[in-house]
């Protein structure tokens, strides 16, 4: 076995059965594997069911998005942000346009800010629904998957009516949003959906999955990321909050209209086991859906009248020379954009700090000593999206 890891070679040197030399089994999990949520490849060294070493191998979905940014102008690159975390695209738009606006010091109309928050939170709910669904699927629970997709469908329809697309919206532009509300009862439809989700659908998921005995057995005390590890490895979003750290960019580094809104930051409390286990990461997402519902309701209540973009849509944005970093709370964690401008219509460099990439690293530490089944649960609870890891 070609490895220099002392822990592993030490293991293999021992005679577990007298007279028989044993070695670890090298196992490729992915890139074509149903539980790796895309084209992630995990190189496992296992002894039977126990995993002794996990090495994530990424890059199968690399599309040079950052390099492309240097060749297109600021507005044109919004479409590429959609393709990072394609399950919650509007939150990605938000991260990018905030960075550009920081550089240009554009004043965004209040109505646009409200619409941004509403669509971004809808997108966050959609992303979290997929997270719950696929996490359940990793545990072998098929039925919640279909239920979550059914609710996501409603969100897709709502966003289609406002942005035109069903999956990749390209909704925000630097200086505002692309379209105003449609001329129909969109607002009341959103409120109706939000109420239904809170009162009917979430309790359904809770009975079906969250408080199911088998589900709790499978997720509690599994793959515990303690507070220090989560901070050391740069985990963000529900993974960090699941470990009991109350940190959310919407509250701790506020942007847009989030300071005006009243919402809570749910954290993992170790209700079913230890703080930072898979169940905690899962329940944080469920509770964030509730909070997103609250945010949407408030933002729609105080929705002001007025224009929705500060500058004309067709004009390219000219950005003064300089550099700016902005971070926002995307569905999967903290999404940061570092933009260096040389004063033209295209950025000199655009660096993306993607949340799934940082969250995934922790698997190398926490994945060791897990069972193969638990590793699947762990990857599911991290809620990674490969479009964002590889960019």
């Amino acid at each position: 076995m070609a490895t220099n890891d002392t822990r592993l070679t030490g293991w293999a040197d021992q005679d577990h059965v007298p007279g028989l030399k044993s070695e670890l089994l090298e196992l490729n999990m992915g890139p074509q594997h149903p539980a790796t949520h895309g084209v992630l490849r995990l190189l496992l060294h296992t002894d039977g069911e126990i995993v002794y070493k996990v090495t994530p191998v990424v890059g199968y979905l690399h599309r040079c998005a950052e390099k492309i940014a240097e060749g297109v102008d600021y507005k044109q690159w919004v479409v590429y942000t959609d393709r990072f975390d394609y399950l919650g695209p509007v939150t990605n738009n938000h991260a990018y346009v905030t960075a550009v606006e920081k550089l240009t010091e554009l004043e965004v109309p209040a109505r646009a800010e409200h619409l941004r928050v509403v669509t971004a939170e809808l997108s966050r709910i959609a992303s979290h629904l997929i997270a719950l669904a696929t996490f359940g699927l990793d545990m072998g629970a098929w039925t919640p998957l279909l239920y979550c997709f059914r609710e996501r469908e409603v969100i897709l329809n709502l966003l289609e009516r406002i942005a035109g697309g069903r999956m990749l919206y390209n909704y925000m532009v630097p200086g505002g949003v692309r379209y105003d509300l449609p001329q129909d009862n969109w607002v009341s439809d959103v409120l109706e959906f939000v109420t239904m989700l809170e009162n009917k659908k979430l309790p359904d998921y809770n009975t079906l999955l969250t408080y199911n005995k088998i589900f709790i057995e499978r997720t509690s005390d599994v793959a515990i990321i303690d507070r220090e590890t989560a901070i050391d490895y740069g985990c963000t979003g529900p993974v960090l909050r699941g470990s009991g750290v109350q940190f959310d960019c919407r509250r701790n580094d506020p942007y847009s209209i989030y300071p005006q809104l009243d919402f809570e930051i749910p954290v993992g409390k170790g209700e079913m086991g230890t703080v930072g286990d898979c169940w905690d990461r899962y329940i944080v997402r469920v509770r964030e859906i509730e909070q997103s519902c609250r945010i949407i309701r408030q933002a729609l209540e105080q929705l002001p009248e007025g224009p929705v973009h500060a500058i004309e849509l067709k004009k390219p944005v000219r950005v003064p020379a300089g550099a700016a970093y902005s971070r926002t709370e995307a569905a999967k964690g903290e999404l940061g954009h570092y933009i260096i401008s040389d004063g033209g219509t295209k950025p000199f460099r655009n660096k993306v700090r993607s949340c799934s990439f940082c969250n995934l690293q922790v698997i190398e530490k926490v994945g060791v000593g897990q069972m193969v089944s638990d590793l699947v649960a762990f990857v599911g609870s991290l809620d990674i999206v490969l479009g964002e890891i590889d960019r």
Binding site: L25, L27, H33, P34, A35, G48, E49, G136, L137, D138, M139, G140, A141, W142, T143, L146, Y147, R150, L208, L209, N212, I214, F215, E217, R218, M371, V372, S373, D374, V376
Partner: protein
């Protein structure tokens, strides 16, 4: 059965041996046809049940009426698939494994009492025989996983072997109280002992038998490798487990065996706990075979219901459940049922 022997010996003028061979051939082909039909019907049923539980329709197009021909179309498609044997596979074992898996469940079908005096093999050790031959499936699964020369398949096979060998114990132990009541392992005798309405069916005879029935049901899910105990397959962990490398008809054999096994354990449950061919109300036994099959289908539905509702347990939790929970409970059931029989004077 006696009537058939008499027919072939007297009317057709065969010798005793000839009559036996003819009847055996007829029954074997009949069982195989019924089994193949079951696989097709239950595939369709599983899709419809899953769809119903997941607020969708399932197949709706093929064959117009609720997609009834979907399973037939799938079978035809699978027949046309390329038969791939991996280059590094152990060819002999690879080819033989699906047959053995199918054989294991088909053999057990022989002792199923469909109706009074209608059983392919009327064995005195019927129930024992069923449990014995259905263990062949384990060897087939282990063979398939080993021969595929694929690490994921090997994982599936190792899990499958451990699981099925373990769960055969509570499965058989749960049936023992029934055998104690009947005093016979003959499948016909077991059903006949439950005559006289739903209150005489074994699962309602006493609390221990009821618990034994629940234990049997849980163990039977594990024995057929279906969710929440689908360890050998676990599509989200092991891709497809022991049959990852199989294609075309060889895969279809595993598929056929899964549904044949599903119906088999359901029929055993009906036979030993749910009154076999007797109708719930005494005196309404007009169509014993139909009653038997309807009860079997209800048990299959229960299996599907569980599969599409619950998440999967982990492999060590599965073993924990078997050795530390189910085996003690079934042992208590055996002792409890015995004491109950002594107290009520049934043992003589």
């Amino acid at each position: 059965m006696e009537a058939m022997y008499t027919f072939f010996m007297d009317k057709a003028g065969m010798g005793e041996l000839g009559a036996h061979i003819t009847v055996a051939a007829i029954m074997a082909s009949l069982m195989f046809i019924v089994m193949a039909l079951c696989a097709i019907i239950f595939t369709w049923m599983e899709r419809k049940v899953a769809g119903f539980l997941q607020s969708r329709y399932g197949p709706m197009r093929t064959g117009r009426w609720h997609g009834w021909a979907q399973a037939v179309a799938d079978m035809l498609k699978i027949l046309g698939k390329e038969d791939i044997i991996p280059a590094e596979a152990d060819k002999g074992l690879f080819v033989f494994a699906p047959l053995l898996v199918l054989l294991g469940s088909l053999l057990a079908w022989a002792a199923i009492p469909w109706a009074p005096d209608f059983v392919a093999a009327d064995l005195d050790l019927g129930l024992f025989y069923i449990f014995a031959v259905s263990s062949l499936v384990v060897i087939g699964i282990l063979m398939a996983g080993w021969a595929s020369n694929n690490k994921w398949s090997l994982y599936g096979a190792a899990r499958g072997a451990a699981q099925m060998v373990s769960y055969e114990i509570p499965l058989a132990l749960a049936a023992i109280p029934v055998v104690m009541y009947t005093g016979s392992l003959n499948t016909q005798d077991i059903v006949i002992a439950q005559q006289g309405g739903i209150w005489n069916w074994f699962f309602l005879r006493n609390p221990f038998l009821f618990v034994a029935f629940i234990m049997y049901f849980i163990a039977s899910i594990a024995e057929t490798n279906r969710g929440p105990f689908d360890m050998p397959e676990t599509e989200s962990e092991l891709v497809s487990g022991y049959h990852t490398e199989y294609t075309g008809m060889r895969f279809a054999f595993f598929f056929l065996a899964e549904y044949a096994n599903l119906f088999l354990v359901s029929m055993i449950a009906v036979m030993i706990f749910l009154g076999g061919w007797w109708s719930p109300i005494p005196g309404l036994d007009f169509a014993p075979a139909l009653t038997f099959i309807i009860k079997g289908v209800i048990m299959v539905f229960m299996n599907m219901w569980v599969r599409w509702t619950l998440p999967r347990v982990r492999v060590d939790q599965l073993m924990h459940l078997c050795w530390k929970v189910m085996i003690p409970i079934t042992l208590i059931c055996v002792i409890g049922a015995g004491l109950w029989m002594m107290a009520s004077g049934a043992a003589s």
